[in-house]
Amino acid sequence: MAALSRPSDHYDSRPAAAGTEITQPRLGFIGWLRWFWRQLTSMRTALFLLLLLAIAAVPGSLVPQRSSDPNGVTQYFADNPDLAPALDTIQAFDVYSSAWFSAIYLLLFVSLIGCVIPRTRHHLQALRAKPPKTPAHLARLAGFTSRDAPAGTDAAAAVESARGLLKSSGYRVERCESGREVSVSAERGYLRETGNLVFHSALVGILVTVGFGSGFGFSGQRVLVEGQTFVNTLLSYDSFNPGRFFDDASLDPYKLKLDDFTVAYETQNLKAFGQPLDFTADVSVTKRGQAAEPGNVKVNGPLRTGDTDVYLLGNGYAPTITVKDPDGKVVFTDSIPFLPQDANLTSLGVVKVPEGLKKQLGMIGFFYPTQAEAQSGAYFSSFPDLQYPLLTLNVYAGNLGLDEGVPTSVYSLDTDKMDALATRTTTVKPLELKPGETQQLPNGLGSVTFDDANPGAKKGDFSGSVLRFASFDIHHDPTQGWVLLFAVLVLLGLLTSLFIPRRRVWVKAIRQDDGSVRLEYAGLARGDDPALEAAVADLADRHGAQLSALPLAPTPEQN
């Protein structure tokens, strides 16, 4: 087993040359650099960095990360006002782009490259080299087998036959002769090291592609209500995050219209009642100078069009609300996306009417697709689909704060400078509207209508009464294909480097004093090779069978 204890085709930190430990000469700058490089590219350092990388990745799973969970980070700051800033100084909320995490993986990859390049050179030489000379004594090698050749066998012919057998099994072969011994030295499994090098190079490929390639992409978000159209230009996005090298002009200005958003919820299985079964956004895509083409986007089925990938991220209701002044003139009408608050789509939205009325008007709305009432009198939604929709509106009047130059979210209303006209605590209670209903605003401000999106429906059928919205993520990532290619190479390299055995096999024919020929077989594993002994035994058997079948007459010598 001693031969197996260390795979011989692995480089390791080289032992220091004899003598250097005792009278250490001054290394000088270049010397130190060389020493540092040798340390960095040693297997031990690579292993240390690899394990360090694993440890360094842990904190990012314990603390919310800005990249994947920005709201979590905000919440963390609110919950831990003392700890959070301290953690922030050590980049604990940006672990995977932090200086220390980057330092570890960059060092690891430098170490890896420093290891792969000399190994590649070494391997290219090995690919051209002949198998080494047959060792003088095979008896101590793996799978050693000794047999007597059938009477009358010629040593040279026996070795020639073994040579043929090995060659047809994919071995590189070399014939050796010394004194009474004729032998063939064979080696196979060069693909093992090739796979190893492909594996490591492909990892570098992934890193480089992700590091540089992702700068050429972008990601953007856009919410569309049924019937609305989005044009793929910078201004149409609700939010847009371009990569470092992304050029806005390269956006292909296709049009994407959300025709219809269909949902399905479980109604048969009472234990999973109301669980979503399907979300489908039916869209039509119009490219410049072409006719509209239908398509759809699903949760696990992005739409790939115009060099972008369109993903369905969320959906909800967008009640259409119309506000009229006391004279009946429409001052506001829009379908407002309401953000879902729970699994049954109790939704929260904000209506802002800055102009047309005596005062600026703000309303905070709750929408219940299937309204139900708790014992406490509070409303909630008991099912996510439109079975008994109800909209409640808290009404405020005053200053919406839109003119102060401070950006405000369309999803929130600052009521500090506004008067509450109809809320739970005022004498006028919040307005309650079903689709198609109109209520008067307090103080004679005017009226508000919850428009029915499907006014022709039968009485009691609310299924189409409220429009839905879908939120889309639109990405362009030129690295995807390359990363996939490298990942496949990683896997293929791994498979070959772990499962293709690299081994040497020798067959020796020794002429005995009595004229007979003794055959010896042995192998040497280079790396993990559980099947080596079986392979040697199998070779001996096949060789024996072939020799028995040979004509006994001596074969002519080869030229």
């Binding site: 197996l4 204890s5 260390r6 795979p7 692995h10 390791d12 930190s13 297997m43 031990r44 292993l47 690899l50 394990l51 694993a54 990745a57 842990v58 990012g60 799973s61 919310p64 990360q65 990249s67 994947s68 969970d69 979590g72 672990v95 050693f144 087998t145 992700v210 990601s219 479980e266 299985n269 234990k271 999973a272 669980q275 979503p276 079964l277 399907d278 699903k298 949760v299 696990n300 992005p302 990938d309 993903y311 991220l313 993520d473 990405h475 990532d477 995807q480 990363v483 990942a487 496949v488 990683v490 896997l491 791994l494 772990l498 993990d528 559980p530 099947a531 002994e533 079986a534 035994a537």
Partner: protein
Amino acid sequence: MNLNELSILSLYSAMGVYAFAFIAFAIDLARRSSAVDAAQVDAQLAADAGESAALASGGTTTLTRISARMANDASTPYGRSASLRVGVSLTVLAWALHLSAAVLRGVAAGRVPWANMYEFAMTGTLLIMTVFLIVLTRADLRFLGTFVTGLVLILLGIAALSFYVEVAPLPPALQSVWLVIHVFVASLGTGFFAIGFALSAVQLLQFKRETLVADAKAVRLRFVATLPSAATLENLAYRINIIGFILWTFTLMAGSIWAERAWGRYWGWDTKEVWTFIIWTIYAGYIHARATRGWRGSRSAWLAIIGFSAVMFNFGIVNVFFKGLHAYSGL
């Protein structure tokens, strides 16, 4: 009784039979200890026999199976054991019940039975057991029976008590062919890592025993003497762990492809992604450790043990307690 109730009945029956198999395997370990005691009556003789057996196996073996080498490898030979056979038979019976529980659950739900924690646990343990039984046909690892049946019992117990959820349809986020591929391969990889973990743990025990014997000190856990040598265990653990590593690499890739389709990016350092990456890195370290001076043997075994602990953490803790996109525990 509907299909799901039948599945539950089948699962509880499997757990009962696993418990009996566990007892049989435990009795076997106890018998191994007494076998070692008996062998020590004439320690010198036993040592000679062990040596000659090792010599005999070294040169002329032409057996392709590892099993023959492993049996000869133990310092104290251990013959046939009735309790081992009972243990294996019961394990096979329990496995059949376990398999039918998973299949029935799948049929009841009309989809693959691995879409929430309860089902992951049921199918994952089934795969651990399947890997164990397959490995048994190639190598005599029956001495791991107590560990494997014990681990599966504990996990199934937790699943049945804490993770149980009713059959529910697949939410849109899970309606993908990658659910079938990604989760199955991850569970299969876990099966290999579990066996590799057990072998590495036994390897450490064996190494300790071998060191104690070399120093002529007293040995506890005497049954270890009937198990293969630390070197053999290490090679075996390595072979099993690299299969697990390849499956894990594929899990990562398949997960990335799915993440791109579902979330619009192939990698986003979601907590589950982070832990899958950590596990991959630990096992990559394990493989490299075996080629690094000073890291072969016990140190690399510890890495395999840490690796599997991280797999269990990823499954049991990250799924349930960590916030992230992989929130499919159903709890």
